[in-house]
Amino acid sequence: RDQIRIVGSSTVYPFTTAVAEQFGKTSGMKTPVVESTGTGGGMKLFCAGIGADHPDFTNASRQIKKSEFEDCAKNGVTDIVEIKVGFDGLTVANSKAGPDLTFTKTQLFLALAKEVPDKDGKLIANPYKTWKDVDASLPDEKIEVLGPPPTSGTRDSFVELVMDKGAEGIDSLKALKKSDAKAFEKVWKSIREDGAYIDAGENDNLIVQKLEANPQAVGIFGYSFLEENQNKIKGAAIDGKSPSYETIASGEYKVSRPLFVYAKKQHVGTIPGMVEFVKEYVSDKALGEDGYLASKGLVPLPGDDFKKTKAAAEAMETLKGDQLM
């Protein structure tokens, strides 16, 4: 095989494909094949072994887990290079024709959780039909949220970054967390299934179109889609901060996550072009503040981080398991 193969996250996919294309154009080597399999699926394939049958890179919308790292090692995949490529803000957005929205995480939790505490702190099935039911400051519109399906890492992140934090903002649940962590976990991990939350598939583009057609609906997706479609949709502020390059890069906008690409160092030399591909990925032209990935919606790393990442990646420093969780 003389062609790089890449699998993994659908969130990182648009960026990696852009790099792959650029790489193919300028290096004179074959353009890498990029498949979107989801972060978890990508890890699984990536860790299945070394050799031409297994991919050389995997994209991930979260850091590799310790368990996955160990899995890799067991299969002989021991030299893994981690490249942190930037951030993705999870955005809650609606049509430009709709109202301007500002949410708190707790409001989002109340609107989307399967069970919410009632006045006495007892858990009941989510009774809220309109946003106004959740909080009087919100518009009097039906709750209709198009979001990622359970198969995606985006959904995982949303639940961890918004629902968990949102639940903690409620006193009775905070108490529950102390007394029964398991039960608490179940509360924030369960998204309502009565039709207010709609699994909208992986076709984020269709979600955008649907939002445009339906001004009351709200969608959840990665920042890059908001960036691409700013003429149609707008992002809601969460805990007072609107999603933008600046707020995400600076960490003010809290609902964001780092994105990674993992390389299999053992394939270097066997599969041509791996080093060059990494170089292209971390070049200023690509990952820099004005790089082409930024225009694709990737929120670049702040300057120092970027330099560090770049140096580490170009040196192909391998990952140590003990840094992982």
Binding site: Q3, R5, Y13, P14, T17, A18, A20, E21, Q22, G24, K25, T26, G28, K30, T31, V33, V34, E35, S36, D53, K96, E202, N203, D204, N205, L206, V208, S224, F225, E228, N229, Q230, N231, K232, D290, Y292, S295, K296, G297
Partner: protein
């Protein structure tokens, strides 16, 4: 028995005129239902095609500029090596950007420059590079090169972002600074509305609000002076979509308008759409990779299922003894013909990829899966074609002492061939449009390079359509529809060939 004469008085049909009228009404109504059903179907088809055509035709055009560029030795081939490999890595973007910037000498700030260059495609230099690589003697000369605009600029120029109206200024207009804003005063009845751009003295102002007789405006581009402008020296540019609902802002739109006015930006046929592979940039993306993948896949399919299908049909139609085995085969074929295609995808995934370890995303596997998928169709069509050859032909051959196989291979099969070909073409057309099973075997991937063999990674045309429909850039929507048009053209050609073949060789025995 004759004595059982009809006892009732003779009834005559015409007695009951009302009934007759009613029967005729119901007759007409019934016929109308049929016509209506066909009409509804036809209207649906027309809507479908119209929708796709409207969405897809822009995909076949692109906007580019012919820019004069100096092909500099330093930037491209400093060592004067004349080696295409080295030339290829030269800096082609620089000269183009320079030349483009030279068209807008007024643009000086870093931010504006960046914005201006953003109007160029990231592949703007591709054509230039190819030109020089093919013809190194250009180095050191000045050349006119085609420069591709970005997808957003292209969409704007195609009028797909906003409509533009340009109104010549009537009377005299005066702009004067008013704090951060500017005040515009005309001596004619008000013609301006909020959002209008007024261009005067080389600058541009966006009207913000009307202020009894005068207008409040913000500066978009700085004018050379604030002298009053007379009729003819100023104009109004009015967009149908407000700025914040566009991906091209007013400033960029004005630049593009200038390009248009200078006649630099031209709309040409996007041959690139047919000659390049997939890309993340809509303006660069093409269907050649997917088309090649489809063709490779179909070759595998055809190569497998035509001989196997025809052989199976001959066996079943002519040689199969009536026993359990052949009955089983028959039932199997009929059932396979109706097994959902996605289940064949599961077969490909579990058998070809996981069990036999064939490569992912390969036309070989795609072809195998599709071959199994269309095999029943071809067998059934071939059997029908064989059956349509009258037995008298076979008997005639047997009668002069031909063996059963001779009778079939010399007489029946050649006569059935048009029918078999028709069935095969229709089966292939079906395979060409099939998507779901290919998704299952990894043919859904981002693949730029044109596949060169049966085990290279490849996608297929319908998968490309599915992938593009998923991408965020709006320009991909028309690419999707454009690819659909190409796919449909192929299908029509195939179906038309099948119909012609059928017509041409239709025999009434």
């Amino acid at each position: 028995m004759t004595d059982t004469a009809i006892s009732a008085a003779p009834r005559r049909v015409s007695d009951n005129a009302a009934l007759v009228a009613k029967r005729y009404r119901s007759e007409r109504r019934f016929k109308l239902y049929g016509i209506a059903a066909i009409a509804v179907t036809a209207v649906f088809l027309v809507l479908l095609f119209a929708d796709i055509l409207v969405k897809g035709l822009p995909a076949f055009f692109e906007h580019r500029m012919m820019l004069p560029v100096s092909v500099s030795q330093e930037a491209i081939d400093p060592q004067n090596s004349k080696d295409p490999k080295i030339i290829r890595t030269g800096d082609f973007d620089g000269p183009i950007r320079e030349s483009f910037r030279a068209m807008f000498p007024d643009v000086t700030s870093r931010g504006d420059r960046k914005k201006l260059l953003g109007l160029l495609s990231s592949g703007a230099a591709d054509d230039f590079r190819a030109m020089v690589v093919n013809n190194p003697s250009l180095i050191g000369t000045d050349a006119k090169v085609p420069v591709l605009l970005s997808d957003d600029a292209d969409q704007y120029l195609k009028g797909r972002q906003t409509g533009v109206a340009k109104i010549a200024g009537q009377g005299t207009i005066t702009a004067s600074a008013d704090g951060e804003k500017f005040k515009l005063v005309t001596d004619k009845t008000p013609v301006l509305t909020a959002g209008d751009i007024v261009r005067l003295n080389g600058g541009a102002f966006r009207v913000v609000s009307a202020d009894n007789g005068a207008y409040l405006a913000e500066q978009v581009t700085a004018p050379k002076s604030l002298d009053p402008a007379n009729a003819g020296a100023w104009d109004i540019v009015r967009f149908t979509v407000t700025e914040h609902n566009r991906r091209i802002d007013d400033q960029e739109a004005l630049w593009l308008e200038q390009l248009k006015e200078k006649g630099v930006a031209e709309n040409g046929i996007a041959w690139r759409f047919f000659s390049s592979g997939d890309s993340r940039e809509p303006e660069l993306a093409g269907i050649r990779g997917a088309l090649t993948g489809s063709i490779l896949t179909l070759l595998v399919t055809l190569f497998l299922c035509l001989p196997i299908g025809v052989a199976a049909a001959i066996y079943l139609e002519e040689f199969a003894p009536k026993n359990r085995l052949t009955q089983l085969i028959e039932v199997n074929i009929n059932n396979l013909a109706a097994v959902p295609s996605i289940v064949f995808g599961l077969l490909g995934l579990a058998m070809f990829l996981n069990f036999f370890g064939l490569p992912r995303s390969a036309p070989l596997v795609g072809g195998l899966v599709l071959a199994l998928l269309v095999l029943p169709t071809i067998i059934i069509a071939s059997r029908a074609a064989l059956r349509a050859v009258p037995p008298s032909i076979k008997e005639a051959a047997l009668g002069v002492g031909a063996s059963h196989q001779q009778a079939i291979f010399h007489h029946v099969l050649p006569l059935a061939m048009p029918g078999i070909m028709t069935g095969t073409i229709i089966g292939m057309a079906h395979a060409l449009g099939e998507t779901a099973p290919l998704l299952m075997i990894g043919m859904v991937a981002f693949i730029v390079d044109i596949p060169g063999g049966f085990t290279d990674a490849a996608t297929a045309l319908p998968i490309q359509i599915y992938l593009w429909s998923d991408l965020p850039e709006i320009a991909f929507q028309s690419k999707t529809a454009g690819a659909i048009i190409v796919l449909l053209v192929f299908l029509f050609v195939m179906n038309a060939a099948a119909i012609l073949l059928r017509k041409r060789f239709e025999r009434r025995w």
